[in-house]
Symmetry: C2
Subunit: 405 residues, 2 copies
């Protein structure tokens, strides 16, 4: 008997009617003889409503209390799904993070799961009971409720799959799989039957919002088969798994893009050891994540230093850089938060040349200026003007022959 | 330094603005140097909204899951109050029942508290932190969330006061104390400065909805001073405590009444041992609570048997009694669910005669028919037509001189 974890996101359980639809999906898997453990997010916009409630009470809510508040959203979903499953003749039990427990680090709002105690889950599964577990939450070292950040229910699901030794972790959502590009931007984008962990990491990291990045890392580390599929209509979805060495990987699997970018350049810095650290230290101290980093070749003893951050951090980083620039006479700051990034991703790039050349050729034909480039073994990412991003993605999707047949 | 428990009911925390007002009240006690532990109910109508959600998913929600669902209401309140207190410079921590834990029996929907682990509460109080505890909920023997029934947050508060050895348990609500009678019915009813546990038990049991019956029993058993006061306007409220032997108790402290009554009579039953059990057994088996019971003197070898139940149970009891009557030819069933009960309560009745005579005299003058009578040491209760109840309460309030001066 196969054992699967099924994770349902907020839109999948957005209403009482959707809760019943989800219970039907789980019941169908049980009727086929599969063992199922369910992980669930909060209903629809309920997390936003709880956040709004907190804001009406406090401008800066205490982190411990905000986590305790938000965690109630997932608890509500678990109870409702367990009720609906029981009504369908499939006994079920809801669990919040304190009950298992799901232990995490103590960083409220972005805790990391350190262990899931699986004793009662295994007992339930052995007895034919469907455990329904609240995603997104954990228990910190001092017994407080923690949350693992937005989108974290995907990670909860993979961690649960690891804990109970599931054969597959299914992420049921409002899209029916991973696409060669965002279908809203590229109308002839094609659903991928499968994609490797490495490719999915690059796609997720570049802003393909189907799956939370950390959940893919987690699945790759423990070699858990992930499957993204729709909770609204039937279909095989996209399998995300270890690369199959017997199958030739596609040169390019997909194109991801992300608008939430901002670019900062410091010009005229002295070319000496430690200058990169001096620039990046204030951002690191402020816990701001820096993505692409480029230092040009030195000229007249000076270098220019460019990096990108999330658009929300742009103003803050500009302020931090004022201090850096102030200690280097002749240096200056430029930047833009009207930039966007795209990434061409494919495991086959490892053994194929010409992918980068095709990219630059295509963008040149489209007269799209490339501001920054960064590469990995299976990815080429470029930063362009935000206004050019959709045109760039469509042109590259065609150039690499990714369209559905 | 005095240590108090403050319990806030649903209307007291009915909105974000009310949450802030409650935080102000607690902060004021802390500023006076008092130690405070808070117990809180779910916000306003949120329990009803959760119940409605459950009904949209299941006609008969699994009891374990319904408890888990409803318990989220109180968790939300605790987090919001802890946030607001922290903002005011008074550190606070929310706790749900699993965290302390509050252990209970396993009967979902009406569990009984068996213990409250007070270690972290005591540590918080010693460190100047206000623990904010979710009322109404507990952890059953198997780790499931339980609820202790509607109104049960009062009981949570008293149990918490016992656990931490509080000097007083304050129930803050939308009324400013216990009155000689319901002021909506008797306009010149007077707030009582104090009332004994025994009197309060009779008043609560007879339908005075200020306090939950079980919480008064609990407070009496552990000799915890209870105080009912308003969270909406300042005032001393009503102290509920052990009777002070040095103070002469008032003959009549107050008059309670309750409309939710129904009366059933079986006539023509054989006068033989065991007949009362035969009549009451089906009701007990169906877990229907029987209140007043009267058997008249036998005549011609037959007796009439009358008892009262909650109006909601009336149709069900009538059906159960058909079976009893069927096995006794010549017996018959009559009844009414248009009856109401009032109770005159006062510790001083123990040493004063004439209270009953005054009652019957007053009702006779008002031409109000008394259908049933039941008495205790400190109470006389009578069943009357529902249409007469308000007139009866007003007449007796005047006859016993209870009006404010």
């Amino acid at each position: 008997m196969a054992l699967i974890v099924q994770k349902f996101g907020g839109t999948s359980v957005g209403s009482p009617a959707r809760v019943l639809a989800v219970a039907d999906l789980v019941a169908a898997r049980r009727a086929e003889g599969q063992g199922v453990a369910v992980v669930v997010s909060a209903m629809g916009d309920s997390t936003d409503r709880l956040l709004d409630l907190a804001r009406q009470v406090s401008a800066t809510p205490a982190a411990r209390e905000l986590d305790a508040l938000l965690a109630t959203g997932e608890m509500i979903s678990t109870s409702l799904i367990a009720m609906a499953l029981s009504d369908r003749g499939w006994p079920a039990r809801s669990y919040n993070a304190l009950q298992l427990p799901v232990t995490t680090t103590g960083s409220h709002g972005r805790a990391r799961i350190t262990a899931i105690e699986s004793a009662c889950l295994r007992a339930d599964l052995a007895a034919g009971i469907v455990p329904v577990v609240a995603g997104f939450q954990g228990r910190g070292p001092d017994g407080s409720i923690t949350t693992i950040g937005r989108g974290g229910s995907d990670t909860s699901a993979v961690a649960l799959a690891v804990a109970i030794g599931a054969d597959e972790c299914q992420i049921l959502t409002d899209v029916d799989g991973v696409y060669t590009a965002d279908p809203r931007v590229v109308p002839d984008a094609r659903r991928l039957d499968s994609v490797s962990f490495e490719e999915m990491l690059e796609l997720a990291g570049q802003g393909s919002r189907v799956l939370h990045l950390r959940s893919v890392e987690f699945a790759a580390r423990y070699d858990i088969r992930l499957r993204v599929l729709s909770s609204f209509r039937p279909g095989p979805g996209t399998l995300i798994a270890k690369e199959d060495p017997d199958v030739e990987a596609p040169v390019v699997s997909g194109i991801a893009f992300n608008r939430d970018e901002a670019e900062i350049t410091l010009t005229g810095l002295p070319d000496r050891p430690g200058i990169a650290f001096e620039v990046l230290r204030p951002a690191a101290a402020a816990e701001i994540e820096v993505d692409m980093i480029v230092v040009n070749a030195p000229r007249d003893g000076c270098v220019d230093f460019t990096f990108t951050v999330h658009r929300d951090d742009y103003q803050r980083v500009l302020e931090l850089m004022q201090t850096v620039a102030a200690s280097h006479p002749g240096s200056a700051i430029t930047g833009s938060d009207r930039v966007a990034k795209l990434a061409v991703v494919g495991s086959g790039m490892r053994s194929h040349a010409g992918v980068a050349a095709r990219l630059f050729e295509t963008l040149a034909q489209e007269k799209i200026n490339v501001r920054l480039v960064s590469t990995s073994e299976i990815k080429i990412a470029v930063l362009v003007e935000e206004d050019d991003i959709e045109r760039a993605v469509r042109a590259l999707h065609g150039a690499y022959g990714l369209a559905g047949k």
